[in-house]
C-alpha cells in the first residue's frame, strides 16, 4: 500500500522505464533518447506541460550518462497527484528519485527548490500556491549534488531581460537599478534566492540518502 500524501501537499508520482529498445525514428546512434511525459491531475496535457517536460528532459539529460546505452530509450512518466504550489521542483525531485530507484548511471543527483520573492523582498522557500500568487517573482532552481551548481533556472515574475543584464553590470553595488517596465528583479536578489536554494538542497539530498538507506536495508 503506497504512502498517501496528506491533503494540501504537492505530490507527483514518477515511473521510469528503460533503457529499452527505441523506435528507429527516435533512436540516437551515440546516446540514449530520454523522454519525459508529464500528466496533469485533471485534463489533457497542454502547452505548459509540454514546456515543463522539455525543461525536465534537459535537466535529466545533464545527469544521466546516456552514452553508456546508445540506441535505447528511457521514458520518465510523471503523474501529478495533487498540486499545492512548487510543482516544478516537486517534479524535479520525483524525477531524480525515479532515476535513483531505476538504477540508471548518473554523474550526479539533482533536486528542485522553488523560491518566492515577495514585493517587500522576503524570500520564501517551497511556497504554497497562495504565496506563489502573491509573490513578485517565483524562481525554481535545479541544483546538482556535487558542487551545488545550477542545472535549471526558471523565473516567473515581473522581470525584463534588460534589467537582469543591466543589474549584472551593477553587481558590485548591490543597489537595484531603476528602469522602464514593471518592477524589475535585480540580480542580487536572484543571487540571494540561489544561495537560499543551495542551502535547502542539502536537506533534500540528505532525504534522498535516508530513503535509499531505508529501501535497501530490509524489504
Amino acid at each position: 500500500d503506497p504512502p498517501r500524501p496528506s491533503p494540501g501537499d504537492t505530490a507527483v508520482l514518477a515511473g521510469l522505464y528503460g533503457p529499452a529498445e527505441a523506435k528507429l525514428s527516435k533512436e540516437l546512434p551515440d546516446r540514449t533518447a530520454l523522454e519525459v511525459l508529464l500528466r496533469p491531475k485533471v485534463g489533457l496535457p497542454g502547452v505548459l506541460e509540454r514546456s515543463r517536460e522539455q525543461q525536465l528532459r534537459q535537466t535529466c539529460e545533464a545527469v544521466v550518462l546516456g552514452v553508456l546505452h546508445p540506441r535505447t530509450a528511457i521514458t520518465l512518466v510523471l503523474q501529478v497527484l495533487s498540486d499545492a504550489g512548487s510543482l516544478l521542483s516537486c517534479c524535479l525531485n520525483a524525477a531524480c528519485m525515479g532515476l535513483l530507484d531505476a538504477g540508471l548511471p548518473l554523474c550526479s543527483l539533482f533536486c528542485g527548490v522553488t523560491c518566492a520573492l515577495s514585493p517587500d523582498g522576503t524570500i520564501t522557500l517551497d511556497p504554497t500556491a497562495r504565496q506563489e500568487q502573491d509573490a513578485r517573482a517565483v524562481l525554481t532552481f535545479a541544483i546538482d549534488s556535487r558542487e551545488r551548481k545550477v542545472l535549471l533556472s526558471t523565473t516567473k515574475g515581473s522581470c525584463s531581460v534588460e534589467e537582469v543584464r543591466g543589474a549584472g553590470g551593477a553587481r558590485g553595488r548591490g543597489a537595484p537599478r531603476r528602469g522602464a517596465g514593471p518592477t524589475p528583479l535585480c540580480l542580487p536578489q536572484m543571487q540571494q534566492c540561489l544561495v537560499a536554494a543551495q542551502r535547502a538542497a542539502d536537506t533534500i539530498f540528505q532525504f534522498y540518502r535516508d530513503s535509499l538507506q531505508r529501501r535497501y536495508s530490509k524489504s
Binding site: G18, P19, A20, E21, H69, P70, R71, T72, G103, S219
Partner: protein, 168 residues
C-alpha cells in the same frame, strides 16, 4: 536492469525465429541473436529443435553497448558444457542481480542447505533469471519461494525456515 556482458551465462526466452537466427529476450534493452549453428552437433542439415517460447541457457559471444548482443550455446572448443535448450517443466522466475552473484559464489551456503531438502535441478542466469525443477510441483514451488525470500532473510532466518520444512 541487466546489461549484457561478454562471457556471461544467461537464460533467454525465444521470442522469434527469423530465418537462420533466433531472437532471445534476455532482459536487456534489446533482444539477443542466437544462430541455429551455435549448438553442439548442429549442422545445416541437423537443425536444433527450438520453438518460440523455449528457454535457452547460453553465453554472450558479443556484448557491448554499440552492437546487438549475440549468444552461443557452445564454448570455444565446440562443446555444449551444460548450455542449450532447457527441458520441459520446471519453473522460471526473476530475482535481483545481487542475489544471483551470491548464489554463484563457490560453496554457496544457500544451495548446500537447499540440496539437503529435496533433489532438484537448478539453472542460474546472470540476467537475474533462475530455473528450478524438482520432482513434484509443490517441491518446486517451495524451492522458488525460499530462493526469492533469500534476498531479504538473514542466514539465521533461512535456517529456521528450512528447519521447518525438514521437520515436515
Amino acid at each position: 536492469q541487466y546489461v549484457p556482458v561478454k562471457g556471461d551465462h544467461v537464460i533467454g526466452i525465444v521470442t522469434a525465429k527469423a530465418g537462420d537466427v533466433f531472437k532471445l529476450d534476455v532482459g536487456g534493452s534489446e533482444p539477443a541473436a542466437l544462430s541455429y549453428l551455435a549448438f553442439e552437433g548442429a549442422t545445416k542439415r541437423n537443425r536444433p529443435n527450438v520453438q518460440v517460447g523455449d528457454l535457452i541457457y547460453g553465453q554472450f559471444l558479443v556484448a557491448n553497448k554499440d552492437m546487438e548482443p549475440e549468444m552461443v550455446c557452445i564454448d570455444s572448443s565446440g562443446k555444449s558444457s551444460g548450455m542449450g535448450i532447457i527441458g520441459q517443466d520446471g519453473f522460471l522466475f526473476k530475482v535481483s542481480l545481487g542475489l544471483i552473484r551470491k548464489l554463484l559464489a563457490p560453496k554457496c551456503e544457500i544451495i548446500q542447505e537447499l540440496s539437503q531438502l529435496y533433489p532438484f535441478e537448478l539453472v542460474l542466469g546472470m540476467n537475474g533469471r533462475i530455473w528450478v525443477k524438482a520432482k513434484t510441483v509443490q517441491q518446486t514451488l517451495i524451492i522458488v519461494n525460499i530462493l526469492e525470500a533469500c534476498e531479504y532473510m538473514t542466514a539465521e532466518q533461512r535456517r529456521q525456515a528450512l528447519a521447518k520444512f525438514l521437520g515436515k
